[in-house]
């Protein structure tokens, strides 16, 4: 399995897609973290001031993009095998398709760790720069900041694995990528806004809570910033997201993975 994961990792390293998605995720993180920081303390937007722990955390945990883009990478990696007919060579080398699926999920999870770390370091950097600019005291302890950074890495890794499951299941890059954005940014916002008790159990929301993002913090539309409900504990949130990735893989193994490669 280690060799298979290394093969998938080499595939990731030798094309531009991963680097482009990482750069996009980093740029969006910097943009949104800066926007949150610039409106912190302005009562109109409901973002607490940067001298408070909650205000600073709003900025340093703008890491949802890394999770979305890690999942997009997973979709592209998995469905790209069929789009570019490279599945033929992959399955000739490793006829056990389940092992290929797991190796892909591991490799993209590895890339997700980098996505999460880069995003979290940028968001933390933006937050600290704004805090320093205002001459405030840093309200969050080093331990909390490190936990949020590590949580972002875990969240993006697990969401990357979910992307691999979606890409393998749908085999369509466009449908998979659109599906990720629509689910994370629209559907979860609507469901989360309507049913706050369900919100902690939604996969993207659960992944973001790993990184310390408060419920509704990563949502768009009516659910943005909406309070209500308690986030799942770290282990439960991680288990839930991992469970979704595993469920997608099981469905894939029983359906599309058995299909003929023509």
């Amino acid at each position: 399995m280690i060799r298979l994961a290394r093969i998938e990792w080499l595939k990731l390293r030798t094309v531009r897609t991963g680097f482009s998605l990482l750069a996009t995720s980093a740029a969006l993180t910097a943009l949104f973290a800066s926007l949150e920081a610039s409106r912190a303390g302005n009562g109109k937007y409901g973002v607490a001031p940067l001298f408070s722990a909650s205000g600073l955390a709003t900025v340093t945990t703008v890491t949802g993009w890394s999770m979305i883009f890690a999942a997009v990478l997973g979709v592209i990696v998995a469905s790209g095998e069929f789009r570019h007919y490279t599945a033929t060579l992959t399955y000739l080398a490793t006829p056990d398709r389940r092992r290929v699926l797991v190796a892909k999920a591991l490799a993209v999870a590895g890339a997700g760790v980098i996505f999460g770390l880069v995003s979290a370091l940028i968001a933390t950097g933006v937050g600290l720069i704004f805090v320093a600019g205002h001459g405030y005291h840093v309200a969050l302890g080093t331990g909390t900041l490190v936990a949020h950074i590590a949580g972002a890495a875990v969240g993006a890794a697990l969401f990357g694995a979910i992307g691999v499951g979606i890409g393998s299941l749908l085999r369509s890059q466009l449908a998979g990528v659109i599906g990720i954005f629509v689910w994370a940014l629209v559907i979860e916002s609507i469901i989360g806004g309507l049913f706050t008790s369900v919100r902690p159990y939604l996969p993207y929301t659960a992944a973001t809570t790993l990184a310390g993002i408060k419920l509704g913090g990563a949502a768009f539309g009516p659910a943005h910033g909406l309070s209500g409900g308690s986030p799942l504990p770290f282990a439960a949130a991680a288990a839930l997201v991992l469970g979704v990735a595993a469920l997608l893989d099981v469905i894939t193994v029983r359906t599309t993975l058995r299909k003929d490669v023509t």
Binding site: R3, R6, I7, L10, K11, T14, V15, R16, T17, G80, H84, Y85, T86, T88, L89, Y91, L92, A93, T94, P95, D96, R258, D260, V261, T262
Partner: protein, 302 residues
């Protein structure tokens, strides 16, 4: 000994039967042409042989096992199934590095196969910039990377210019000379006629013929015309040997079922002088067309 065995292989896609109870075998160390017009079922058969497509019925084995059960499959079988099965944004060298890692061969082998297929100067170019011919060469390099004893090549001459076709012919000659088993598909007999030992001809999913190239060549020369002053005697001698000989003029015999060489030897044995021999033959390609057209006509509902 047969290293590739296809037995009663059938594949249906809904109402369409792409391969219909196909059986054939390929002996070790032989080069076999897998021929048929477009849509005959060649690619589907090769994909079933390689475990990529699930047969509806029957079996396809390599060295006695389904491909999926072969230990180190890349070291046993090298395959080229489509020229474009490489990610367009990846360089040729990186494409081969990935396959080298999959086959656990050293990366020095990557440079060797790039050199073998004449792509060394293009090694660091992205595959998306390659012509179809270059992609075919890259496909062959990928198939040869792990030095397999069996090669399965699906239409490897597609997209090659005349110089490329000649290069491919020389490469296949070289591979055959090394004692490898090669199953090479084509819809053009002439592409492989100079390379193969035998042919398996397919049409509409059915086996139309399996024979050596020599047998096919004999079929190709279907009439020999002889001018001789002893026409009746030659006619009797040929009939006694099982050939069909018709006296078309007092000094002319038209023979089918025997080659010009066989008629000449018989005439020499019987001391029958021969003044003129003409072979009213059709080319190998024509035989191929006749075989596949006959099969199509048989299937066409009237």
């Amino acid at each position: 000994m047969a290293v590739i065995e296809v037995h009663d292989l059938t594949k249906r896609f809904g109402a369409l039967t792409a391969v219909d109870h196909l059986s054939f075998a390929v002996d070790a160390g032989t080069v076999v042409g897998f021929l048929g017009p477009n849509g005959a079922g060649k690619t589907t058969t090769l994909r079933m042989l390689l475990g990529l497509v699930e047969p509806t019925e029957g079996s396809a084995t390599i060295c006695g096992r389904p491909y999926q059960e072969l230990p180190d499959p890349l070291h046993r079988v090298g395959a080229v199934l489509e020229a474009s099965s490489a990610y367009p944004g990846r360089t040729a060298r990186n494409h081969l590095r990935i396959q080298a890692l999959a086959g656990q061969v050293p990366s020095t082998r990557v440079d060797e196969v790039l050199d073998l297929v004449g792509l060394t100067s293009a090694a660091r170019r992205r595959v998306g910039e390659f012509s179809l011919g270059m992609r075919q060469r890259l496909g062959l390099a990928t198939a040869l990377l792990c030095d397999p004893e069996i090669l399965i090549l699906d239409e490897p001459a597609n997209g090659l210019d005349p110089e490329g076709v000649r290069w491919l012919r020389d490469l296949l000659h070289g591979l055959a000379g090394e004692g490898r088993t090669v199953l090479v598909s084509s819809h053009i007999l002439a592409e492989v006629a100079q390379t193969v030992d035998s042919v398996v001809i397919l049409n509409s999913g059915h086996l139309v013929a399996q024979s050596t190239l020599d047998e096919l060549t004999t079929r190709a020369q279907h009439k020999v015309r002889i001018r001789t002053p002893m026409a009746e005697r030659l006619q009797s001698a040929l009939a006694a040997k099982g050939a069909t000989a018709v006296l078309v003029a007092p000094d002319r015999v038209e023979v089918s079922g025997a080659s010009a060489e066989q008629v000449g030897l018989l005439a020499a044995e019987q001391a029958i002088p021969i003044f003129e021999t003409t072979t009213d033959g059709v080319g190998l390609e024509e035989v191929f067309f006749q075989l596949t057209a006959a099969a199509t006509a048989k299937e066409t509902p009237r």
